[in-house]
Amino acid sequence: MTSVPAFVDYEFGDRKELCLCAASRASRRVLLVPPLFDEMNRMRRMLVDVMQSLACLQVCSFLPDLPGTNESLVTLDQVSLADWQDAIQACAQQHDISHIASFRGGALTIAAMPTASHWIFSPAKGATLLRTMLRTKVAADREAGRNTGLAELAAQAESGAIELAGNIIGRELFAQLNAAEIPEMENRRIVRLESDSKPADGKIAGSALWLRAEPDDDPAMSAAIARDIANWMMQ
């Protein structure tokens, strides 16, 4: 089976968003929901490796652009977390997918699909992701001679859009992310790295590529993730 992913699309609102698709003729289908912000960039290579490994296991996979990210024509400051949740649901419906594998902050976008089967990798709370981004802003402000703090910036984000680590985040997205917890789902499998001590239904050997200062890949970890997803889909 060919393992070169190709772009397809999905409709959301009055426009189309792109979606990478591998092994489109396989009957088993899974939607991969990427991490958010910087982590999305740092893990894209890994996710594409996972898609290629899934293709070898006869599983078709889709990797959508969230509105406001990657090739999307909408600007990020116009987008809310509720939009991301609706977009992921729209993509799954349009491509007839009932298995969703979300990574890190991507797990915050699956809330609109309580009846789907969910595989979740190292989920992160929205407040945790924002805290890291707020810290980069505090550091940048300090270098520019301004003394700001986390609480002050968070208050600023409540009144209007704020630029954090190169992302312009609107008031709504900030507030929704700040409150977003990892969703409780009836049918879910949580997978974490072996080095992670939090409760998990499965463990994968490897290291946290989303923390890596220089984006990197880990083919063994990507293959292990693909095997775990494929086995879970058989159940």
């Binding site: 910087d38 890291t132 505090v138 703090g149 923390l211 890596r212």
Partner: protein, 90 residues
């Protein structure tokens, strides 16, 4: 579900440094209290430091305030471990 395993502050700092810098277990095991960090490791930029702090908070269940973070904290591996040890006993 697996049971939660407690990690020592030093093990947590070592594990996070390993993830951020992309080092092997052997390489990060060679870090001593005197190993220089900020300035000596170009990968450790402000984005990486921000990720490191949040990750330590998450793994050790601590909260790190803005005014606790200064250049000295990241001078050496020993400083960072001592800080993490101090935070978990607070």
């Amino acid at each position: 579900m697996h049971n939660k395993v407690d990690v020592t502050p030093e093990a947590a700092v070592r594990a996070v440094m390993r993830d951020i810098l992309g080092l092997s277990e052997e390489q990060v095991a060679e870090f001593t209290a005197e190993t220089e960090l900020f300035g000596a490791l170009p990968e450790l930029d402000s984005m990486a430091v921000a990720g490191l702090l949040t990750e330590l908070e998450d793994r050790l269940d601590i909260m790190i305030e803005d005014d606790e973070v200064d250049g000295e904290l990241f001078e050496t591996f020993g400083n960072l471990v001592a800080f993490a040890e101090m935070k978990v006993t607070e």
